[in-house]
């Protein structure tokens, strides 16, 4: 884990003191809302439908037990006892009072956390693979590079007032678990034929109103060139990106309008100019950062207790089959803790649950936790012999749900239950789908199926890249839900295809049921996933199931 040095601590302390004074001046009337709003947004404070919302960054999703305990403290002391983990590996508090926020930020600073650049037209929280540092399929731990980018981008003077926000993700594994292709810029650590590692850089991905898949701008960038290259990309976009229309301001539109070759040429020209100004201090910094991310000394020992529990206890077995992933050490596992109990709000964890997860991390998990963009919590390193004891404790606190990657492991944005920009609700739709398929006892049979729900076109719920995407809209004053099928959030990324007219709030769950029923009928065999079936047969059979009347009319 990265530990703040004196400079970091002083910087955050000073920012918090500044913001405290700004809040005071807002409350005593010396600042108007127009003056205050950009200041609060710089510190992650939004005003939502029913209250303020504080968005705290969990850089690249990594945290330790002390930090998780502090997140619990914030939830309990200044909020309503829970927090909401988001698709950007942040946590949101839905009910803080304006006057309490400076105290919340001070509490966060004590454990090296903050809310800076979680909003506004800046470079946002850098995200990464939630299995970073543990996955069997990764080239190296991507987090030092993510931390380097975080430090470079934090308070970067050129990039504080851009045309729009800019999101960066970093990955280093064969599988993409960080939705790299949906980011403004993605860094992928790769190896070339000569066996050297370097970076593949993608730009112009993004969801929202105009979803785009990122394109490769540089196939192999030498390691020392990373920061000047990223700076060149952001700088080029910051100059030529559109500022006339908010919806056309993101780099995806710039890349689309200019073409990737033109952007590449501009970036290369800019790079030639600024590369000499990077004299190696960044590489020294990276080397220093790497010392913070040394892997723990993994303990050894037999895994008999695991084998015994796996054979004897069907509940444990079901959980192990869905919630464990392969660790780089065969006697360890990566544990995904589902915070998507059937019928509960996806991504919400109570203060008590946060403390339980922190304790388990301290006791069994080398003090490490991760937040996934899929809104779950990961203990990246657990010796297999500890899994039965851990699972027993998880179950006691509503954290033992065995549904990772299944139909009830739904991504849902806050939607109109909280978000001021929403056009419809997302959370209750997720709750009802999960509850329904739990009743049907079908989800393990259905297998891998990702449903993602957004409450408006901004697509924070990643609906475009869902196998079944749901977008909530306001159609003439009534909630209406549009379905897309066949999206893919991995390296084979694809934007889902619209199925047809939307469904009313009380029709959306039955519509999803018809889609899933169709899949179960027409899949080749139980191993063919929903996405594979969709790619084989296309939209037609699903359309027929969704819109039987339309078919009748044509006939």
């Amino acid at each position: 884990m990265y530990k703040y040095n004196d400079f970091d601590t002083a910087f955050v302390t000073e920012r918090n003191a500044q913001f405290r004074a700004q809040v005071e001046r807002r409350i005593d009337g010396s600042l108007t809302e127009d003056e205050f709003k950009p200041l609060r947004l710089m510190n992650g404070l939004y005003l939502q439908l029913h209250a303020y919302m504080l968005r705290v960054a969990v850089p690249y999703g990594s945290l330790n037990s002390a930090q998780m305990n502090t997140l619990a403290l914030l939830a309990e002391k200044w909020d309503k006892g829970y927090g909401h983990f988001t698709t950007r590996q942040n946590i949101q508090y839905n009910w803080p009072k304006l006057s309490d926020v400076p105290d919340m930020l001070d509490a966060l600073a004590e454990v090296g956390m903050h809310a800076i650049q979680t909003s506004g037209n800046t470079i946002r929280n850098v995200t990464s693979d939630h299995f970073a540092g543990a996955a069997a399929d990764e080239l190296e731990d991507p987090r030092p590079v993510a931390e380097l980018i975080r430090q470079w981008s934090t308070d970067h003077p050129e990039f504080q007032f851009m045309g729009r926000k800019f999101k960066i993700a970093v990955g280093a594994a064969t599988k993409d678990r960080a939705v790299l292709k949906a980011h403004d810029l993605a860094v992928r650590i790769v190896k070339n034929d000569a066996g050297e590692t370097g970076y593949q850089i993608l730009v112009g991905g993004g969801l929202g109103r105009t979803p785009m898949i990122g394109k490769v701008i540089n196939d192999f960038l030498p390691r020392a060139d990373l920061l000047p290259y990223i700076e060149s990309v952001v700088s080029v976009w910051n100059q030529i990106g559109r500022r006339d229309n908010k919806y056309k301001a993101r780099i995806k539109i710039t890349v689309h309008e200019h073409g990737i070759d033109d952007i590449r040429a501009r970036v290369d020209a800019r790079f030639a100019l600024i590369r000499p100004t990077f004299t190696g201090a960044d590489q020294d910094l990276l080397a220093e950062i790497k010392t913070h991310f040394v892997a723990p000394i993994f303990r050894s020992g037999g895994i008999e207790t695991y084998d015994v529990a796996y054979k004897a206890d069907p509940v444990f077995r079901a959980w192990a089959d869905t919630n464990l992933a392969e660790h780089r050490h065969a006697d360890h596992a990566i544990v995904t803790i589902s915070i998507k109990k059937h019928g509960a709000t996806p991504g919400d964890a109570s203060a008590e649950q946060m403390r339980v997860m922190a304790d388990l991390a301290a006791k069994f998990g080398y003090d490490e936790l991760r937040i996934s963009h899929e809104q779950n919590v990961i203990l990246p390193h657990v010796h297999k012999s500890d899994l039965p004891a851990m699972h027993a404790q998880l179950k006691e606190h509503g954290l033992g749900t065995a549904n990772i990657g299944l139909i009830s492991d739904i991504i849902a944005c806050p939607g109109m239950d909280y978000c001021a920009l929403a056009t419809a609700r997302a959370i209750p739709v997720a709750e009802q789908i999960a509850t329904r398929f739990d009743e049907l006892k079908l989800e393990h049979d259905i297998g891998n199926l990702q449903i993602k729900i957004s409450g408006c076109i901004n697509a924070c719920g990643h609906h475009h890249v869902a196998h079944i995407g749901i977008l909530g809209l306001d159609r003439a004053g009534v909630e209406n839900y549009q379905i897309t099928l066949g999206g893919d959030a991995t390296w084979s990324a694809a934007i889902g295809e619209r199925a047809g007219p939307g469904f009313a709030y009380d029709e959306i769950v039955p519509a999803v049921e018809r889609i899933v029923g169709t899949y179960l009928e027409i899949r080749d065999n139980a191993d063919e996933t929903f996405l594979e079936t969709f790619r084989r047969v296309g939209m037609a059979p699903f359309k027929a199931a969704l819109y039987p009347e339309a078919i009748k009319k044509v006939a």
Partner: protein
């Protein structure tokens, strides 16, 4: 042709708590929509909105929201305003919580 003016209430968020508030006809801010002044005249609405927006140290983001007359005072006509006057649907938080505690 100009569209006919539909009745409105003035609503905003309270500066400190951020919760939803409504302007009453005696110039108070109420937490309840039913206590709000239902404005049926367009010119009056604009004046009231100016007054409300000027109260910068109490309220944030005042705007005119569509409403209709009901037996106990103004009621929302759009689901967004219905959620604002009630609270979220996943927990009994927000206004519905305050009401439950009365």
């Amino acid at each position: 042709m100009a569209r006919a003016f539909t009745p409105k209430v003035i609503t905003a968020n309270a500066l400190l708590e951020g919760d939803v508030i409504y302007l009453t006809d005696d110039d108070q801010w109420s937490r309840e929509l039913s206590k709000a002044e239902l404005i049926t005249d367009e010119a009056h609405a604009q004046l009231r909105l100016l007054d409300a927006s000027a109260q910068v140290s109490e309220v944030v983001g005042a705007y005119l929201a569509d409403a209709k007359a009901g037996p106990n005072g103004p009621e929302p006509t759009h689901f967004r305003e219905e959620f604002r006057r009630t609270g979220p649907s996943n927990y009994a938080h927000g206004k519905q919580e305050a009401e439950a505690n009365v």
